[in-house]
Structures are given as structure tokens and as C-alpha cells.
């Protein structure tokens, strides 16, 4: 349960910690950095606010605030704690704009505005209740979560579980427009956080477990009208593939691959949703995002590469036209949705500065991909993988291990990583001060058996039984500090439970993250040394943020509330007597109900005055 930094040997760790603990001038830290920096156009000068879950278009989750730093973080104290009333998985971050904080709740997706400047203490300003249809809870694969609202130009944009996109006036909490974009009768829900840029609201659907046909669309931020919609299966015209589509690898070139890489008609119910993170490069005017798993999970029902699922798209934000695509997991065997974050960096690759995106994929490889061309510069395992033996950089293709391929009617044992991947949705943070990416992730393996799935619209389309358990070493989670330039982990922290909360990096060289049993932790960004921790009422899967309050002090905030796929055993609650519950995740966290409880409180921490 205790976290232990697993540096090669304890002696070197202690030595390193001892010398790092001495205060270093900032310039020296810059000198030690590896030359990686966030894409300049995709970041903004630090303003002490937190307006979007990823913090900036480059998805760094880094705040320059440095009042709380390595030396003083141990004195961090709770300044505010407030029960939101929610008891479902809380994956959304609080947003802070000016002196108002906005909370996004899981189903029923209420938005709560809190006036941080109110006296004597912060008070609720308004609550917006979208009242989504209760039926949508039945088609949400992995708890009824929401990954957050986005603030832009005086408006809040967010999605509801039943497939609506809503724009609110941030001052009054009144809806400006609401657009129904998903159909829950087919299994389309929306859990993602939108990306708002260039007057567009970018939204994708969830429902890869229901045989939906995945898409990403852009709505006009002013009116809520659909500007463009790109499907992730089917003919080129639906996928918005045209003459300006130039994928780097030959396997992604050809006409109507979204039809020809599937059995007839299977692409119509083939998944490929977009429920994760979208990054945006304002210089290239391109968005980057990944597509979800093909449906059903049983791969034998969908021979072929199953384009355009489980890959990353680069699209023109104005038109939605695809610029390039790279399929990290062709013919996905294990539900390895490719929806994880892409951190936009400019960094040296083999001695040359390149504009890249770095993406720790669910299949266990951390990809460094050129933003302009889609070329994969490197793909290195950051977690335990035995289901693939590598990535062929000439063809870009993942090399699967045949003995781990699921086969109808039999159970394949000890597959790593699991269906939930070496890392699931919870994004890492990049600190330009250390040049490291802080990845909270899992260390799990699974047994899986597949069988023919029946398609009935609005019901799950899976065809798989899984049972997950701890991977090699026995710990179920890791926080890995990854050096993208040197292509290796700088250090790792072993966590007993899988990590399902994103990380936050700050200018004070502190990294924050939470565990599913409710420990909110602050570690040293350079060494991984645990500097501070606090036990919260419920497990943490939410996104921590930091901001400058109206009083000029730096605060760290998050909302607790265990749940999601990993925590459904508590938020359900589910029965641990069945190892296959929650698609096998229950077996991996059978001890969780004893260690935490369902909850949903806002916590705000700061240094004592």
C-alpha cells in the first residue's frame, strides 16, 4: 500500500535524494532538462487559471505557479472541503476562471459554480441541471463519468451522458444552446471533455462496447450547429478523407480502407469512438486525437485491420479533413482504445529538433510521432507488455505475439497489458522544468476468453470474458517519470492499486496525483520522493488542478469520488464474487471496498497563511 520509489538501488536513491534536496537555482534545473518543451503555440503564459482539463492545447497539465514547491509542500493544509452529493466516479477536474470555480459532475451532469471570493467562505453561485435521460446510465460502459467542462470566451461547454453538447453562460449559468448529437438507443453516450478552439467545439462519442459507429464532430461555438462530422469507419467521404490525406505508412493508404478492412457491413457497427483527449496545434491548425476500440471485443468477428479504429488522427480544425492517420493497434485484439492524451512537444529526436506529439498508448508503448507527417520516431514500452514484441518502425506496425491472441472458445492466460491497457484515459503531465512526463498508469494482466457476440442495438457488443489481476511485481499501479528524449523511465513509483487519476505538474517542481484508496499525494518532480499526502473520504480518480486564488495564494484542488471502470466495484456497487464483473476489473480490485467508499467531495489545499 505504501508507495516506494523503485530506483535501481535504495542506496543510489538516497544519495540522489540527498543532493537533490539541496535547493537548486532554477537555471541549473533548466540546464539539466533534456531539451523538450511544449509546443510554443499551444501553450499560453501562466495566468493562474485552469480553464480546460488539459490546462492548455498542448495537454501538458502543467501550471507555472510555484508558491507551493518542493520545500514547503509538506506544510500543505486543507482550506476547503465540500460534499458535492455525488456518489459516482468523479473523473472531471474543477475549473477556475477568475474568482469562480466550476465543478462538472458525473451523471446527472450538473454544473456547479462556486464563488471563491465570497465572504466569509466560498459559496455556491449557481447550479445548472441538464437532466439527461436516466436510460443513458444503462449504455455507459464504465460508470457514468464525465471528464470535464471547458471554459472559453465567457461560456462553459460540456457534454451530457445522454449525448448532448451544452453551452452555458458562465456568469449566469443559463444555457445558451444545447445540441443533441448522440443517440443512446444505439448506445452512443458522451463522457469526454470537449476541446474548444477557433470557434469550434470538438466532441466525440463513447460506446465502443455497444457496436456504435464512432465519430468526432465540430460544433460552432456560437450557435451549436454542427460544422463537420467525421466517422471513424466506412467510406472515405464519411471519414473526411480526401486528396489532402497523407498518412506516413503504406498500410494506411488506399481507397475506402474503412470498408475494405472489415467484413461486409461490420464497419457499420464497428466502434472506433473518440472519447478521450484532443490536442490542438494552433500553428499547424491541426487537432490530434485517438480513436477507440473496434467492436466487438472478440477479434475473430472482424478480420482485417479495422480502420480507422485504435489509431491517431490529425485533422484540419476548420474543415475536419484528415491530414494523416497512424494505426497503433491494427486489428485490435484486447480493447486497446487509442484515446489517450497526446502531449505536443518540440524536442530533439536523434539530434534534430522536431515537432512531435508524445502519446502513451493503451497497448503499452509510448509513441513519439511527428506532428506534421505522422512518422513514428520511436515506440518504447513504458509498462509490462507480453502481448506484443515491439513496433516495426519501417512499417509502423505493432508486432503481436501469436500465443497471446484470443481465440473463440478458449481462455488465453496472462495477457499483459489488460483490456484497460498499460494506461487508460487518465493523462500524464509534462513539466518543461524537468523535461519529464509523469504517467500514472496500471500494472495488470488478464485472462481472456472470447466468444461470438450477438449484435442487438442498444445492448453490449463484446463477446469476451476477462479477469484481471496484478502484473509482474504484484503492485497494480505505477507512476512513471518518463524521459521522452532519452526514451526511458527516469524513475518509477510503485503503487499498490491501479492509478486511475491524472497527474498535475507545477512550477514548484511538485507533482500531484491520487490513488483509488483516497490518498492525495505530492511528490518531488525530480526524484519521485513522497513529500506530502492526505487521505480523502473516497478514492481519487479525478483530475487535480492548481490555481491562484482571489487572495493571490496558490491552491491545489480536486474532487474525490472513486468509480470509473476501475472503481465500479465501489460506485456500483458490484459483487466481488464474480471475477468477470465490470469486464474483469472487479477481480483486480477486490480489496477496494474495504479500503475506501463511494464519495464526491471537493477538496482545496493551500499553504498556511
Amino acid at each position: 500500500m505504501r508507495s516506494r520509489p523503485s530506483v535501481r538501488s535504495r542506496a543510489t536513491f538516497l544519495a540522489a535524494a540527498a543532493c537533490i534536496l539541496l535547493p537548486l537555482p532554477a537555471s541549473q534545473i533548466h540546464a539539466a532538462a533534456n531539451g523538450a518543451r511544449p509546443a510554443p503555440a499551444a501553450t499560453a503564459p501562466e495566468d493562474g487559471q485552469w480553464t480546460m482539463p488539459s490546462k492548455d492545447y498542448a495537454s501538458t497539465r502543467y501550471s507555472g505557479l510555484d508558491q507551493i514547491n518542493r520545500q514547503n509542500v509538506a506544510r500543505l493544509k486543507l482550506t476547503l472541503s465540500w460534499d458535492t452529493g455525488s456518489r459516482k466516479g468523479q473523473e472531471a477536474p474543477p475549473l477556475v476562471v477568475g474568482s469562480t470555480m466550476y465543478l462538472t459532475m458525473p451523471f446527472p451532469n450538473n454544473i456547479i459554480a462556486i464563488d471563491l471570493a465570497a465572504k466569509p467562505r466560498p459559496a455556491v453561485k449557481w447550479v445548472f441541471r441538464p437532466n439527461p435521460r436516466p436510460m443513458s446510465q444503462g449504455v455507459a460502459c464504465c460508470d457514468v463519468v464525465n471528464r470535464g467542462a471547458v471554459y472559453a470566451n465567457g461560456r462553459l461547454f460540456f457534454n451530457t451522458l445522454d449525448g448532448q453538447v451544452i453551452a452555458l453562460d458562465a456568469a449566469s449559468g443559463k444555457a445558451v444552446w444545447r445540441t443533441q448529437v448522440g443517440n443512446i438507443m444505439k448506445g452512443e453516450t458522451i463522457t469526454m471533455s470537449p476541446l474548444v478552439a477557433e470557434g469550434k467545439v470538438i466532441v466525440g462519442d463513447s460506446g465502443g462496447e455497444f457496436g456504435v459507429r464512432g465519430w468526432l464532430m465540430a460544433l460552432d461555438a456560437a450557435s451549436g450547429k454542427v460544422a463537420w462530422k467525421a466517422f471513424h469507419t466506412g467510406p472515405d467521404k464519411d471519414v473526411l478523407i480526401g486528396p489532402d490525406f497523407h498518412p506516413y505508412y503504406a498500410a494506411d493508404r488506399g481507397k475506402d480502407l474503412g470498408v475494405h478492412s472489415w467484413p461486409a457491413d461490420a464497419w457499420k457497427i464497428g466502434g472506433g469512438t473518440a472519447w478521450g483527449w484532443v490536442s490542438y496545434d494552433p500553428q499547424l491548425k491541426m487537432i490530434f486525437y485517438g480513436t477507440g476500440n473496434p467492436g466487438p471485443w472478440n477479434p475473430e468477428q472482424r478480420p482485417g485491420d479495422n480502420k480507422w479504429t485504435t489509431g491517431v488522427f490529425a485533422r484540419d480544425i476548420a474543415t475536419g479533413r484528415a491530414r494523416w492517420f497512424y494505426q497503433s493497434t491494427p486489428h485490435d485484439l484486447y480493447d486497446h482504445d487509442d484515446i489517450n492524451e497526446q502531449i505536443l512537444l518540440d524536442m530533439p529526436v536523434r539530434g534534430q529538433m522536431r515537432q512531435v506529439l508524445v502519446r502513451p498508448a493503451r497497448n503499452g508503448y509510448l509513441y513519439v510521432i511527428d506532428r506534421k507527417s505522422g512518422q513514428v520516431y520511436s515506440a518504447d514500452p513504458y509498462g509490462y507488455i507480453n502481448s506484443a514484441s515491439g513496433v516495426d518502425l519501417r512499417t509502423g506496425r505493432l508486432i503481436p505475439v501469436p500465443s497471446k491472441a484470443p481465440q473463440e472458445g478458449r481462455v488465453v492466460r496472462n495477457i499483459g497489458p489488460t483490456a484497460s491497457g498499460a494506461k487508460d484515459w487518465n493523462p500524464g503531465a509534462f513539466s518543461p522544468r524537468t523535461g519529464l512526463i509523469y504517467l500514472p498508469h496500471e500494472n495488470l494482466c488478464m485472462d481472456e476468453g472470447v466468444m461470438e457476440a450477438n449484435y442487438i442495438s442498444g445492448t453490449p457488443y463484446l463477446g469476451a470474458d476477462a479477469k484481471m489481476y496484478a502484473g509482474p511485481g504484484g503492485n497494480r499501479g505505477f507512476l512513471t517519470a518518463w524521459d521522452p528524449v532519452r526514451r526511458k523511465a527516469a524513475w518509477k513509483i510503485r503503487e499498490d492499486l491501479p492509478l486511475w487519476s491524472p497527474a498535475l505538474a507545477t512550477g514548484g517542481d511538485v507533482v500531484f496525483y491520487g490513488t483509488m484508496d483516497g490518498w492525495f499525494k505530492a511528490i518531488d518532480a525530480l526524484t519521485g520522493k513522497l513529500l506530502w499526502r492526505a487521505k480523502l473520504d473516497s478514492g481519487i480518480i479525478g483530475q487535480p488542478i492548481t490555481y491562484r486564488g482571489p487572495d493571490g495564494r496558490q491552491y491545489v484542488a480536486l474532487v474525490s469520488g472513486v468509480g470509473g471502470w476501475a472503481g465500479a466495484i465501489v460506485s456500483g456497487p458490484l459483487d466481488p464474487g464474480d471475477p468477470s464483473a465490470a469486464l474483469g476489473f472487479v477481480n483486480a480490485v477486490r480489496d477496494l471496498p474495504k479500503r475506501t467508499q463511494a464519495g464526491g467531495r471537493l477538496y482545496v489545499f493551500a499553504l498556511p497563511r
Binding site: 453490449p460 457488443y461 456500483g572 459483487d575 466481488p576 468477470s580 464483473a581
Partner: protein
């Protein structure tokens, strides 16, 4: 033939006959189960379906085919609530479960009326009740069809189902 021998033969015949009851398959020329209207409480079909190994095993097959397993797993739940415990939001009797399957429930359970026949709903209900070992012990299966390693129903401890009988009227509930 000596009399103990005769007696044991008669006993054997009885045992075999008892086995027939467990395995009875109402397949042909028994219109009762199909044409009768559903009775919300005290439907005479309930015990026919619940205490019949064949109907239960058909229910087990349908539990996979109708994707029940996708949400409820093998009783432990996931997107839907667990079915192997003793908590039932909408009542846990055969009739309640059949009603739930056919008409759905507002918090996510889709209606299967028109997608399943009523007979199939009864078979499913029989299997669902077996997940918490409610039916007769000799009817329960000693091995599951699925590939996971769930405990056989015959080894499960039977907990009486909560709120049995349910609230009358079969309203949509909370």
C-alpha cells in the same frame, strides 16, 4: 427375484422418474406456456420454469446471446447491477424478473419485449434466479457454460432475496 432386489428396482425406477421431472422439456404440443397471458403475481409458470434444468440451461445460453452478460457479467454486474446478491431494486421473484426483462426499467435496463418471446424471458428469469442459488438444489447446474471461473451454482450459499414479495402494481419503481 428376491424381494430386496425387487424393492431396489422399484426404488431405481422412482429415482429415474424423479430425474425425468427435473429434465422435463415442454417442447411440443404443450401450448400452456406460450399462449397464456402474463400474470404479474403468482403466475403458474413460475415454478415450472424455475424448477426445470432444461429451461434453466436454455436461460443460461440466452443470458450470453442476449448480451445480458455484457452488463451484468456472470452475476457480479458491471454496467448493470449484480444479480448474484440478495438486493433487488424491482423485486426478485420469477414474475418480477420476467417483467423487468420484457418491459425494461428506467435507469438503463432496456425492454426486450418484441425482441424475445415470453417463453425465453421465463427461461432467462430461471437462470437469473440460479445466480443466487434460489431454485431447487437438484435443478441447479454443477458447472457453468461460461469460460470464467465463477463458482458453480450448486455451491453457492442461498440468501433469501430481499423485498420478496415486491411492491404490488409493478410500477416503474424508483
Amino acid at each position: 427375484m428376491s424381494s430386496p432386489c425387487r424393492a431396489s428396482l422399484i426404488l431405481l425406477a422412482f429415482i429415474l422418474l424423479a430425474g425425468c421431472d427435473r429434465e422435463k422439456r415442454g417442447m411440443t404440443h404443450e401450448p400452456k406456456p406460450e399462449t397464456m397471458a402474463f400474470v404479474p403475481s403468482g403466475d403458474p409458470r413460475a415454478s415450472d420454469y424455475e424448477n426445470n434444468a432444461f429451461q434453466m440451461s436454455q436461460g443460461q445460453r440466452l443470458f450470453m446471446w442476449m448480451n445480458c452478460v455484457g452488463c451484468h457479467a456472470h452475476g457480479g454486474g458491471g454496467m448493470g447491477p449484480p444479480l448474484m446478491d440478495d438486493k433487488w431494486r424491482y423485486g426478485g421473484r420469477m414474475e418480477d424478473i420476467v417483467y423487468t426483462i420484457l418491459n425494461g426499467r428506467p435507469n438503463g435496463m432496456p425492454p426486450f419485449k418484441g425482441r424475445l418471446t415470453e417463453q425465453q424471458a421465463w427461461q432467462l428469469a430461471s437462470y437469473v434466479r440460479s445466480l443466487s442459488a434460489q431454485p431447487r438444489q437438484d435443478v441447479l447446474y454443477s458447472r457453468s457454460d461460461e469460460m470464467s471461473i465463477t463458482e458453480p451454482a450448486t455451491l453457492k450459499e442461498r440468501n433469501a432475496i430481499m423485498n420478496e414479495p415486491p411492491a404490488p402494481g409493478h410500477g416503474p419503481g424508483k
